[in-house]
């Protein structure tokens, strides 16, 4: 096959040509993943979309084989996971890949989100692309929570109890919603059954939203570290082989680190108490979620009112939906925003502080720290972003991507 500058591809293989004439999948792949014009100045932050996609596929594949040996029954679940670990051939590897994979999937997505924040990828015309991304994040959190319940350890059970009880804070219908989640009077076998059904379903919904995310991405193409639009062929390179290679390289590094955890420290990111079977009559000394949910857990606990805490926690993610309209600056990339640039890093530190507080019991200094960090989180989005866009004087933007890239080389 051959294709020059936007001309429809000509397929030499007759079978391929026959299929493509009826269902143009080959033209689609050629257009969107081969000749697709992509800004030539990506840095390694632009690897993480592809990395996250690979992690999603990996989670689905390991999840399907785990489901073949898992028993979604409160009497059998815990033992069935131990059986996967000890008796099922390569079962330990599938489970460790799946549980470590969840952490690495979130890590990739968080870096991907940071990239979007720093380089202003959420700004026009990519608002819907960003919003679809936030939907994916919410679905991932729900899926991760549901999956964490399945091994039916102490933290599974009590995490499920605490999170499902959040919904009882909703006025009027709260208690009915909780009963519908539980299918009984407490977290029990019916709960485990429905959580398993949903945990199997949601990843495929994530796949569908990822597809929309990619479609939206390919309308206007990727943002880039300079945050300016490509003005012509001199600013872009074809996606393949340039970025397939760059993504492949970044992915390999990422997977090496991931494999290091899978093989040498699979439980390092987990809670030991989840290897104790669920007991509805004994609450563990401390209930903590996995690391990737800790900042939101800290926000929940920082508010001394049940409904208020729930609103703040969901609000901390919901606020991302309106981020494209809260940021009043028209300059996308922080490279040219001398003040805001630093506040992005302050926000990152703030979220890390929240995460640290979320991992510790709500006493003394941790209460104060998590309250201050929660206030700052909302201050960043609701006050700082709108005002800074108005008063900050951005640095002059380069005339084009090619221009900026060549100038850098010359220096």
């Amino acid at each position: 096959m051959a294709s020059q500058h936007g001309a429809p591809p000509v397929f030499n293989n007759r079978v391929v040509a026959w299929i493509d004439h009826r269902l143009p999948i080959f033209s689609y792949i050629e257009k969107e993943y081969h000749t697709f014009p992509t800004p030539k100045n990506f840095n390694y932050f632009w690897n993480f979309g592809a990395i996250a996609t690979v992690m999603l596929v990996l989670m689905i594949v390991t999840g399907i084989v785990l489901a073949m040996n898992y028993q979604p029954n409160s009497e059998l679940a815990f033992a069935s996971v131990e059986r996967i670990m000890r008796d099922v051939p390569s079962g330990w590897l599938m489970r460790y890949m799946h549980m470590t994979g969840a952490s690495f999937f979130f890590a990739a997505v968080y870096i991907h989100i940071f990239r979007g924040l720093y380089y202003g990828s959420y700004k026009a015309p990519r608002e819907l692309l960003w919003i679809l991304g936030v939907v994916i994040l919410l679905l991932m959190m729900a899926t991760a929570f549901l999956g964490y319940v399945l091994p039916w350890g102490q933290m599974s059970f009590w995490g499920a109890t605490v999170i499902t009880n959040l919904f009882s804070a909703i006025p009027v219908v709260g208690d009915s919603v909780v009963t519908w989640l539980w299918g009984g009077f407490a977290v029990d076998n019916p709960t485990l059954n429905r959580f398993f059904a949903l945990h199997y379903l949601l990843p495929f919904i994530i796949v569908a939203v990822v597809a929309l995310h990619v479609v939206a991405l390919h309308v206007h193409g990727s943002n880039n570290p300079l945050g300016i639009d490509p003005k012509g062929p001199q600013d872009t390179v074809p996606f393949h082989p340039y970025y397939t290679m760059k993504d492949g390289f970044g992915l390999t590094i990422f997977l090496i680190i991931y494999a290091g955890f899978v093989f040498f420290a699979p439980n390092w990111l987990g809670e030991p108490v989840n290897y104790v079977q669920a007991n509805p009559l004994v609450t563990p000394n401390e209930i903590v979620p996995e690391w990737y949910l800790l900042p939101f857990y800290a926000i929940l606990r920082s508010i001394p009112d049940k409904l208020g805490g729930v609103i703040a926690m969901f609000g901390s993610i919901a606020i991302l939906f309106v981020l494209p309209w809260l940021d009043t600056s028209r300059v996308r990339s922080c490279t040219f925003r001398p003040i805001y640039k630093w506040f992005v890093f302050v926000l990152v530190i703030d979220v890390l502080v929240l995460g640290y507080c979320g991992a510790h019991p709500p006493e003394g200094g941790f209460v104060i720290a998590s309250r201050l960090a929660t206030i700052y989180y909302f201050f960043h989005f609701l006050v700082l972003l709108p005002i800074l866009g108005k008063i900050e004087r951005p640095l002059p933007l380069p005339p084009s991507i090619a221009d900026a890239v060549l100038k850098k080389k010359a220096v």
Partner: protein
């Protein structure tokens, strides 16, 4: 609906037979959609066998004064405390204005036959904040500043009547329906 012009609007812009049919069939479709959705939502409610496990009988005779036990009811812990006279007095003396969720101690120790037994406090052992099991039933457990229960998850504190006094929990520990069939036998649920 009349906006589709001469076809649907009557001579003077009045609703036509077609408008009526649109609205009527649309309304029926909406009713049908809701009626179809209901069994799917209802399907999430507790099943008959789950509901059947809804009561439990306990012999409280072995519980000494000052002691408390935990029994399992509907998958949840229930605390039965044999209160000391000091604990009863402490619970009764609190002014209702000091309580986040005002309720008299008397109302919390009355069984379904309206008989008051202040020595027996029976509450669901589930923190009304986010559902942890508060500590304070076993000897040696921390019981909080008010001598009742202390929830280790988010620091809620309950008094000797199981009422919330401090911390994020919004409500008192729930009192289940119970009935003393004799002085030593109680049926919960």
């Amino acid at each position: 609906m009349a906006s589709s012009g001469s076809i649907s609007a009557g001579a003077h812009g009045d609703p036509t037979r077609r408008d009526f049919l649109f609205v009527a069939s649309g309304a029926m479709a909406a009713v049908g959609a809701i009626a179809t959705a209901w069994p799917f939502i209802n399907n999430l409610n507790p099943a008959a066998d789950t509901l059947a496990l809804s009561s439990v009988e306990v012999n409280v005779k072995p519980i000494a004064v000052g002691q408390a036990i935990t029994v399992k009811w509907r998958g949840k812990p229930v605390f039965i405390r044999h209160r000391t006279p000091e604990e009863i007095k402490e619970a009764e003396d609190v002014k209702l204005s000091e309580l986040p969720d005002p309720e008299t101690d008397n109302a919390r120790v009355t069984d379904t036959a309206k008989k008051v037994r202040p020595e027996w406090l029976i509450v669901v052992g589930v923190c009304t904040h986010l559902g942890c099991v508060p500590l304070g039933t076993k000897p040696g457990d921390p019981r909080g500043e008010y001598g009742g229960w202390f929830c280790p998850c988010h620091g809620s504190q309950y008094d000797t009547s199981g009422r919330i006094r401090k911390g994020p929990a919004p409500k008192n520990l729930a009192v289940p329906d119970y009935l003393f069939s004799s002085d030593s036998l109680v049926k919960i649920g």
